[in-house]
């Protein structure tokens, strides 16, 4: 039988039961549509993450405490802290490939000043920090080497902190009290915006690490040591150099694993997008499940259809349809049904990801290959779940089918 005819028969019998066909396709439509939207959003989020990691600084090398596993996710990070000021100083002294090094000591603090209260993390850093992070001041200036050496009680406010404690006012020259210790504000940082995970980079206070370490009581730890390589080409080599120096500094034997992790921007991007990868896998699982459910819906309706049309099958067989012809007829019908569902799903996916893009401003794009893949999967669902009902139809005995009431 000619393929065009086969196709026409399928389309007509689907058109004959429009509502039922539409309901049958719903599973596939929802499955495909949802996955398309999610993938579009996922890709939008990913490109945003990559952009904001780019904005961390130039040729960045980040050393964090705790070993990393192959996936780049820290194992037991923060459970015990093995970065010391000595590490940072040794790196600054011995590294040939890093142009700048700065420890980052973390301490949270209640800030008082100008009659207002505010909570923000205090970062104890070295003079190289703004260079590494590519971070300028909008007012005043950053502290110098002399301030660090003399452990002066000076600080630079992030834009958010400045705006909240000294609204509409230049804080430079004012005083803030951090954990009861008075600090002089000598600068305000230019606004940098949010990080990939949505936290506000401008909600912080920078002070000389020496001062933070000695003058501020309470819990504090070296969260990371930041460095920047001389050039982008040096970054990989710098990472191994840093590792070697760190191992020496920690006195690790050959058999011992690193108790720190060295990463560059690419690694950080990897870690950040690792979560989106988990999300993608989750999406794939949802896609598989919804297509499976949609497929069962199709199988169910095809079984009903075969029973309802038993007599028609008998007639077709009586006038010379081979079992294969009957099989093909029902299989094509199932595939048309599921592919149609896939098409509608893709259309809905495009439509709603465009909408999400408009609402969030994310670049939500659907690759044509993705749409093609979704359609391919829908068709495969039709073949897989349509096969059994179609075979049932083909296996009917012509006489019994003709007698069927």
């Amino acid at each position: 039988m000619r393929h065009a005819r086969l196709f026409r028969i399928a389309v007509r019998s689907i058109a004959r039961t429009k509502l039922r066909s539409a309901l049958t396709m719903l599973g596939v439509i929802i499955g495909v549509g949802a996955v398309m939207v999610m993938v579009a959003i996922g890709q939008g989020a990913r490109s945003r993450i990559e952009a904001s990691i780019q904005n961390l600084g130039t040729n960045l090398v980040v050393i964090t405490p705790g070993a990393s596993n192959a996936g780049g996710v820290s194992r037991g990070a923060g459970s015990f802290n093995r970065l010391t000021i000595d590490d940072a100083e040794k790196l600054a002294r011995e590294s040939l490939l890093l142009s700048n090094v700065s420890p980052v000591i973390m301490a949270g603090a209640r800030i008082r000043g100008g009659g207002a209260n505010w909570f923000a993390p205090i970062f104890g850093v070295d003079v190289a920090y703004p260079v590494i992070r590519d971070w300028a001041t909008s007012s005043g200036q950053f502290f110098g080497a002399a301030d660090v050496r003399a452990m002066r009680k000076v600080c630079v406010l992030g834009a958010t902190v400045a705006g909240n404690i000294f609204p509409g006012q230049d804080p430079v020259g004012e005083q803030v009290i951090l954990r009861g210790v008075p600090f002089k504000v000598i600068g305000v940082l230019a606004a940098k915006g949010q990080t990939a995970d949505g936290s506000d980079q401008d909600d912080c206070i920078l002070a000389p690490y020496t001062t933070v370490r000695t003058r501020l009581a309470g819990r504090q730890f070296i969260a990371q040591i930041l460095g920047s390589a001389w050039s982008a080409a040096d970054v990989e080599a710098a990472k191994s150099e840093v590792s070697a120096i760190m191992r020496e500094s920690h006195g690790l034997g050959d058999w011992e694993e690193d108790d720190f992790t060295v990463r560059n921007q690419a690694d950080l991007a990897e870690t950040a997008t690792g979560t989106t990868r988990v999300m993608s896998m989750l999406l794939a699982a949802i896609a598989a499940i919804s297509l499976f459910v949609g497929g069962i819906g199709i199988m169910n309706i095809m079984l009903v259809s075969v029973t309802e049309r038993t007599r028609e099958i008998g007639i077709r067989m009586a006038i010379g349809a081979r079992p294969g012809d009957v099989l093909a007829q029902f299989l094509v019908e199932a595939v048309v049904l599921s592919t149609l569902g896939g098409l509608v799903g893709v259309a809905i996916g495009y439509g709603s990801s465009w909408l999400v893009g408009r609402l969030t401003g994310w670049p939500t794009t659907i690759a044509p290959a993705m749409a093609g893949l979704a359609l391919g999967f829908s068709a495969a669902v039709g073949v897989f779940f349509g096969f059994w009902p179609a075979r049932k139809a083909a296996a009917l005995d012509p006489i019994a089918a003709l007698r069927y009431e």
């Binding site: 039988m1 000619r2 005819r5 004959r16 007599r311 028609e312 008998g314 007639i315 077709r316 067989m317 009586a318 006038i319 010379g320 349809a321 081979r322 079992p323 294969g324 012809d325 012509p398 006489i399 003709l402």
Partner: protein, 249 residues
């Protein structure tokens, strides 16, 4: 056309398994049908007529015995080969018409051609129209079965049986659902087709209709009990004309 018989049955048997019991619907039939014959199969209800027709029509297979169609054994063929024989060599007409509902007469008649692998270069639409014209329904091509009378539906079914130009037409009580006048019209059509060389085997209950065929066989309990030629065969077309004349006067 070959000189041998169109149909040759040797000790044809068909038993249905009904749980522990067995129903012997056909208990050994020997029958030969020559090309150009027109046969009526008669017999009481349950005597095995439909069972025999289904086997002749390659819709069913015998339990034992042989069936040669045009000199070729067909009793052991598989589903695919039987389908092709039904499609190309045999036209089958049912008591209940068995047309596809919601499908036009034209498309119903086209159906067998869609499954015709041997001649699929032919113009399907034209062949179907020609077949409908042969049964006098050239002007009803676009009607669906619901919009046709019983006699017209049976004519569509006959056109469908003829469209692949088979040499053998099988009809199981083709007039069972029709009134006497329409039945004779159908018989006139069969006679006209038979005159042009088509072999016709039909089942009927009605003795009146048996007068229009050339040969009558009778079944009883799955056996052939009578097989005789019809001596004064009537002309259905002439009877219709006479009936019309008497009705007019």
């Amino acid at each position: 056309m070959a000189t041998g018989p169109v149909i040759r049955l040797r000790d044809l048997q068909r038993t249905y398994a009904m749980g522990r019991n067995e129903v012997r619907a056909l208990a050994g039939i020997d029958l030969e049908v020559a090309p150009g014959e027109m046969i009526a199969i008669m017999g009481a209800s349950g005597s095995g007529k439909s069972t025999l027709m289904n086997i002749l029509g390659c819709l069913d297979r015998p339990t034992a015995g042989t069936y040669e169609l045009d000199g070729r054994r067909v009793d052991q063929l598989g589903g695919k080969e039987l389908a092709d024989i039904r499609n190309q060599r045999i036209g089958f007409v049912f008591q209940g018409f068995n047309l596809l509902p919601r499908t036009s007469a034209q498309e119903n008649v086209e159906l067998p051609l869609l499954y015709d692998r041997a001649h699929h270069h032919r113009d399907i639409g034209r062949a179907a129209t020609a077949a409908l014209e042969r049964v006098g329904l050239g002007d009803r091509r676009d009607h669906v079965p619901n919009e046709l009378s019983g006699g017209q539906q049976q004519r569509v079914a006959i056109a469908r049986a003829l469209v692949t130009e088979p040499a053998l037409l099988l009809a199981d009580e083709p007039t069972g659902n029709l009134d006497t006048h329409t039945s004779i019209e159908i018989l006139a059509l069969f006679q006209a087709l038979n005159d042009r060389g088509l072999t016709v085997v039909m089942v009927t209950h009605e003795l009146d209709l048996a007068r229009y065929v050339r040969r009558v066989v009778e079944l009883r309990d799955g056996r052939l009990v009578r097989d005789e030629a019809v001596r004064d065969r009537r002309d259905a077309a002439a009877d219709l004309a006479a009936g019309a004349a008497s009705a007019a006067s």
